[in-house]
Amino acid sequence: MWILDSVYRGRVELWEKDGTVKNVRCEYDPPFYLHLPDPHPHHDMIGALESEYRAEECTFRTIFGDLTGYKVFAGRPVAEAIEQQTQYEAQLFNVDVRIDQRFMAERGIFPCGAERESRFSPDVPYDLHRMEIRITGNPARSPVCSGIDVIHEHTERLHGAERDVLADLFSLVTSCDPDVILMPDADTWMPKLQEQARASDLEMPFSRTGKYRKMDARSYWSYGRVEHKESALIPDGRILIDTEQSFVYREGGLAGVLMAARLSGLSPNLASRFTPGTLISSYEMYEAVRRGIVVPFRKSDAESVRRFAELRAADRGGMMFQPAPGVCWDVDEIDFTSLYPSIIVQANLSPETIEHPERRGFLPEVLDPLLGLRIRTKQMKKSDPRYAGIDSILKWMLVTCFGYTGYKNAKFGRIEVHEGITGRSRDILMRTKDIAEAMGFCVLHGIVDCLWVQGSPIGALKDRVKQETGLSTEVEHFDWIVFLPQNDGSGSYNRYFGRLSDGSVKVRGIAARRHDTPEYIRAMQREMLTVMAGAATVAELGTAHDQARTIYRRYAQNLPRADLVAMAISRRISRLTYAHRCIEGAAVNAYRKAGIAVAPGMKISYVVRDARKYQVDPAWSAGSFDVRYYRELLDKAWGEISYAFTSGGSDRVEAAESNAKQKTDDKDRCRHDNNACPLCR
């Protein structure tokens, strides 16, 4: 049976798909576990637990070893009362594991898959009836919907009076009975649709039971920035994906959502709404339960006291080598595949192995199959793009698994593991640099798990790195690459662009890649990069200068007459109050004036009308834009591109050509064909 959805409402409900969709209900009342380091003072409490609920003495397994205690057949409120009564002396386990997830993990079954399938197979077989619903208008502003496109076997356009449109939509959903509904901004539209349905005396048919689970709206920190999640109404027995807001869907498509659900043991409705961090944390919980290991409610393995100097020495990030800004040619980027998770597995890093390195750790054990799967999908996506979405989800889950080891509330995290991973990664990057230099390569740049080198043969370097570190790498060849400068003139670590050997251009950190760049400016850089992509050598790159300059002049000339839509700046806001006047603050105020409730982490889109007076309009109501302000943005974007030709560029291009010629002459002269010879390099 293929599990489509799961929910717990006093009992576990599974929605199974086998031709038709069937609702299976299972009685399930699992206990939580209690360990008291000194049970004697709590004799009365234990007696009360035994008589009021059901509490049985037992032994249970944690990642650190076995503990004796009780299993208590009660819910979270009782667990929290125990914590308070024992003044947080009690250690509690399996209190906050989702009950439907725990039910499936204990039975070795999982969502979006059938029994006997492997969760770690790169293939996700499914037979789901899909429907796409696109509602016209901006969900943050439009109180009503007057036009809807419904795409299933064919496309239907519903329009007219609001009640009629809704009635038509609901009857289509009822008659088509899809398993999956894809809807941009579904989580913003659904409460509105529900309200309208009530007012029009219609029954909303998205849920197969008529019931909806509610997820509250919230703003939260993630990787140093504030994100916002809309509240959501989640239907029963049917997958509803907000294709606009779901990170997992945007990265991995439907296959990515299904894979995330299989691995984490969560309903695809939840998997599509969670961050990769929550997914990896859920995956670890599912794996723990499956292996008979209890999941701690609160962490009790607090960090030991350390001297400040020790802390400073240990608590560092990844290694970086700063590039010299300018144009380089024939450069290879050598990139470790999932470096941090590989280190966890290879070095057996886990909270319990810090004190007992001889034991096989929980984290390496559960990450090993996930890492194996990622290595396979990374290979497979090269020949079959269908695997790209799944690969991307795996990549994100593995990236965040490292971050979670340093998160104070992570169930299976510990800061010393986090430090151990970054410490080893620094050594690995240094070792790789040493190997490269010993083989005659010139190291140009390095960031955490990547090195940019000049030299050959790159295959030999890759093999040698694999042999010495035991880690897999991927290599990309740049015909030329431009490392951009920072404001102080030194090389920037994360702003570069270059032409790969397949003729495409790889871009990092420049306007064309940034999310808040207006489309007009992005289009200019893209056009220039397309021209530059035609240059296979540094010499040819020099000849693209005139064409790129012509593009710049055309965009600069046409700027006053440009389409307003192309001037919109979209940005995720991090706060609602600003200490100083700024454009973003003005945009937040403009949104408020338009009657839109803003929250930190929300994405806003605005056009700057007058930058000097901080006058900004929401994108949909803009009537004009500040040409001078946008010209500055345009010039800055041109500066990034023209660096390849000008100060760091043309001189360097000429220098590069002259160096290349010199190298050829030297090579002809010495004929050693040996990388160790400075003339041959």
Partner: protein, 86 residues
């Protein structure tokens, strides 16, 4: 915000270099270029110093000294070559 944050050695060197840049402005006009050069040299090997140094000042001094030794050796080499050339 959760977790804890340290300014990295790299960030520390940048802040030390900023102090040095400010101090350079107070130097006599003729000495200012040397102060500015020092700022540049302090930052040049900040990334590599991050691997071994915990103290930003130690990292800045390491970076400056490496460049000074390089320069000295280069001058000695140039001197030798000019001695040999007729």
């Amino acid at each position: 915000m959760t977790g804890r944050s340290f300014a990295s050695v790299r960030q520390g060197v940048k802040s030390t270099a900023d102090h040095w840049a400010r101090s350079s402005r107070a130097l006599k006009k003729d000495d200012q270029p040397y102060g500015e050069k020092l700022v540049e040299l302090a930052k040049r090997h900040a990334s590599e110093a991050f691997y071994g140094c915990d103290d930003p000042l130690e990292a800045a001094v390491f970076s400056v000294l490496v460049e000074m030794i390089k320069k000295q050796e280069q001058q000695e080499q140039d001197q030798k070559e000019s001695d040999v050339d007729p």
